[in-house]
Amino acid sequence: MANLTLKDLQKSYGKTEVLHGINLEVKDGEFVVFVGPSGCGKSTTLRLIAGLEDASGGDIEIGGRVVNNLEPRDRDIAMVFQNYAIYPHMSVKKNIAFGLRTSKLSKPEKEARIQDVAAILDMVDLLERKPNQLSGGQRQRVAIGRAMVRDPAVFLFDEPLSNLDAQLRTQMRLEIKKLHQRVGNTIVFVTHDQVEAMTMADRIVIMKGGHIQQVGPPEQVYRTPANIFVAQFIGAPSMNIWDGEIKGGRVMLGDVALPLSLAHVKAGTPLKIGVRPDDLQLGSADPILHGTVSLREPLGPETLLYLSSDLGAVIVRAPGKNPPEVGDRIALGALAENIHLFDATSGEALV
């Protein structure tokens, strides 16, 4: 059953159209992450779902009913904001209880719910504190608690981790994922960080310029990106992309014929050829290109090599121990299954 459905959702500000018809079905209990560069429309989509802004066209359905004309409070949603938006003049407990103000629960029921949430979020000792006595991570947990206490059909998270430092972000990422496994509500999570998207999502929605580029599980968008944008946006460091072409039914990367056949593509069609830094094999016996190491970035378990080649810049992931030296010329190979082909004009993947 779909818990949240977006049908041809559009949004314009005056004459500027920022969402050009978004279609998406989110299943009950699914963790969906919207990811994309800033200005791609991901936050706008979230705000439309929340009811903080009105859609210019299309429908939003939550739990089977169209909510376009409902106030945020009637949509059965809860939202966690980037800067937490916990009220500085209220104690933690009051902040959490704030989410229940309009609920019809009795007082003891409300109290029980607050205690439950505090226990789940490990905040029982903090209930009487004021927000300015809390750390960033604790504040974020209060914000999540305020959303949880309402037990909504859909949780909306608007870049909730981007104000935290790197270590805390990793920790909260795990906590939110655990929380999802435990409470099982549908979550729509917006972020610009592809690592967050990959690690947390059941399905990732990649957006750019007000269009959905691809929807799929993390593994799928990583392994079979729908276009060059997705290929480069997902995965760090980004996928290497070079110019290629088709000659005599063979895919040519420079002078090398790749072990791929593309029968349905016309000869002479300009191509883009992509290989992830992880999929390039050092010292391959059957290389597809050669390059000279110009820079090394040791990361401990691995080393990133920045190479210059006839085809342009190349990034390769090398082992952490005994990586090639700067100035070394190395041969790089790739398995056919790891080579991605894209139409040079449209950017779409050619399969």
Binding site: F81, P88, G136
Partner: protein, 291 residues
């Protein structure tokens, strides 16, 4: 390394004791300016208190300490029944206008700041432009207005021009700009209506501004003179400044009594200041810690 080498030399010690005492001339000049400024502020108040302790014949004797200090003036003013009436009038008027300003200035400021609607910029400019018109110019229209509504010589007549101020609206609008929209949106999702959001979420976040506005409005109305003088006729409706100015007779102004009344009437303003100043300081602390 020999131990003697790391010992400070005698020269070094002398320098070390000299340096902290050395101050630039700029520092002395700054202190002097501060002192003059402080003196200029305190002088009128000190003079007021000094005069209130003098007998009538000593008032024009420009001695700071009276030859024969007396509290007779205080006894007179406090035993003269009129003063209590004026004091009560001033309290009622200043308190009501302060509450009214806190509510309505912030409501309008909030609306102009947080809602997008056609014409809001024009409304804001129109409100601001009233700041450019001096009170003296408005007194006659106000009077005609009061007359036609039958408000002359009443509380309502004294208060109505000050129940809302352009300055207060402007101040509150600017302060609401510092309240992140996320707070309001979170409250909207939590199910509050717009009036509840203003009252329970936005207002507590601008407490420092409200405290500042309360002090301004209270002091402004407590010391207001021209308009209350014009709109009131009967001595029972006078406010403290208007009433005090009438001490004495045609031939002579009783400065010692005026100063006594003025000295007594500073007490409420001090209380208001002390009460609300705490909010200002606490507000600043709160804002400083908010990450």
């Amino acid at each position: 390394m020999a131990a003697t080498e790391i010992r400070p030399t005698t020269d070094g010690l002398l320098n070390a004791t000299k340096t902290p005492i050395k101050r630039s001339y700029g520092q002395y000049i700054r202190w002097l300016l501060l002192f003059i400024g402080g003196l200029a502020m305190v002088m009128p108040i000190a003079w007021m208190i000094s005069t209130s302790l003098k007998w009538p014949h000593e008032v024009y004797n420009l001695k700071f300490i009276p030859d024969e200090p007396t509290i007779e003036n205080y006894t007179y003013v406090l035993e003269d029944g009129r003063f209590y009436g004026w004091f009560l009038n001033s309290i009622v008027i200043a308190v009501v206008t302060t509450i009214s300003n806190l509510l309505f200035d912030s409501l309008v400021g909030y609306t102009l700041c947080k809602f997008k609607f056609p014409g809001r910029y024009i409304i804001f400019i129109a409100i601001l432009s009233t700041l450019m018109i001096p009170t003296e110019m408005l007194v006659i229209p106000w009077y005609i207005m009061s007359q036609s509504f039958g408000w002359l010589d009443s509380y309502w007549g004294i208060m109505f021009p000050g129940l809302m101020t352009a300055f207060g609206t402007f101040l509150m609008k600017q302060f609401f700009e510092t309240v992140p929209d996320d707070f309001l949106e979170a409250a909207r999702i939590d199910g509050l209506n717009e009036l509840q959001i203003w009252w329970t979420v936005a207002m507590p976040l601008v407490k420092p501004a409200l405290a500042a506005l309360a002090i301004f409005v209270f002091l402004g109305n407590w010391t207001a003179f021209i308009w209350p003088l014009i709109v009131t006729n009967s001595p029972e409706m006078y406010t403290v400044p208007v009433g005090l100015s009438g001490f004495g007779d045609e031939a002579d102004v009783a400065w010692e009594l005026i100063m006594t009344g003025a000295a007594i009437s500073t007490i409420p303003t001090l209380i208001v200041f002390m009460v609300f100043q705490r909010f200002i300081i606490r507000g600043v602390v709160m804002a400083g810690l908010k990450g």
